[in-house]
Amino acid sequence: MKRYSRQTLFSPIGVDGQERLRRKHVLIVGLGALGSSIAETLTRAGVGKLTIIDRDYVEESNLQRQLLYSENDAMERMPKAEAAKRRLNEVNQDVEIHSIVGDADVPLLERLAPNIDLIMDGTDNFDTRFMMNDISHKFHIPWIFGSCVGSFGSTFTIIPGKTPCLQCLLKKLPMRGQTCDTVGIIAPAVQMVTAYQTAEALKILSENQWALRNTYVTFDLWQNQTLSIKADSIKNADCYTCGHYPTYPYLQYEATTKTAVLCGRNTVQIRPATSTNCSIAVLADQWKKAGYKVSANPFLVSVLKDEHRMVLFKDGRALIHGTNDITIAKRVYHSLIG
């Protein structure tokens, strides 16, 4: 165990905590900036088993902030889950890496959940996060929310039966259009979120729950702001996810984002879970600022991103033209809307 000597010397972990880490299985959903950094830290730390999920492949514009990936991965358009696994194996062969190239949808998460000790948030959209939140509570698995954009980030550790859940915090799916593809992102903001996330993960995995932070942290590294906010009082006893009579709404078919390939049109339709009233003007404005070609009328907005054109209707429905591939369509959609 010489390999982990600096971690076992840290007295709250110690040799026993290291052995507990080794027996744990962590699910990382999403392997973008947050997910790849979390995966590297937990692999180096000697967690027993990681299951990593991502539907995307490595692109040149990922390299600025996404650890694990090399220029070669971008050139080969390697799926992130495979590229990550390859590098993680070079870094620590002791850790069993189970990689899944695909969508983290309800059936997949329900199948994986029974064997998982902790879920880490590496996603870039609230659709998936609300699913993870329901899975976490249905199967009594802690999960650690994290998100960032620009120089701004947030994180919160959610313990079923104890803390408020993501629904208690957010009430409804936010839809804002502030994404890494519209307002950018700097790597230190990612690192700060994952430093908080992985510190909490090490506490849970080494069974030091007493040390958990219990606050929602939010910061802006460029503006030099940090806030640590108590959240206990907003735990909602009637919450459909963590309340007394849970229904796990985001695991129901009606609540999941629907996609359909429009035959012969080289187009995918995406219909979000809840029909939000999206502010087309705000989105159009943000996309213009980010340098995309945009045209809008009161009913819809059309935006060109690389070789795809997305048309977004006021009710939140979107058509992604230029592809028959649902994965690509979802990527375009979430990169522009969040």
Binding site: G146, L170, R176, Q225, S228, I229, G338
Partner: protein, 77 residues
Amino acid sequence: MIKLLLFAQFRDQIGKQEMQFPIEGKTVKELKEILKESYSFDELDSVMVAINEEFVTDQEIIREGDIIALIPPVSGG
């Protein structure tokens, strides 16, 4: 007087990270309405509000000297 801390796009919109506001006695919901009208803040429905480093609901009444933070959820990662 209360102090309003602005994060992310709210800060960008106003161009500073804090504002003073004479709004004690009103609720968080009323604060949001004022911000919407006077500063055309958007999407205040999904913003999280903390008073003195503790999350509160829309019904919470604001008191003299409170430090109120508006925290927008961001989705990136």
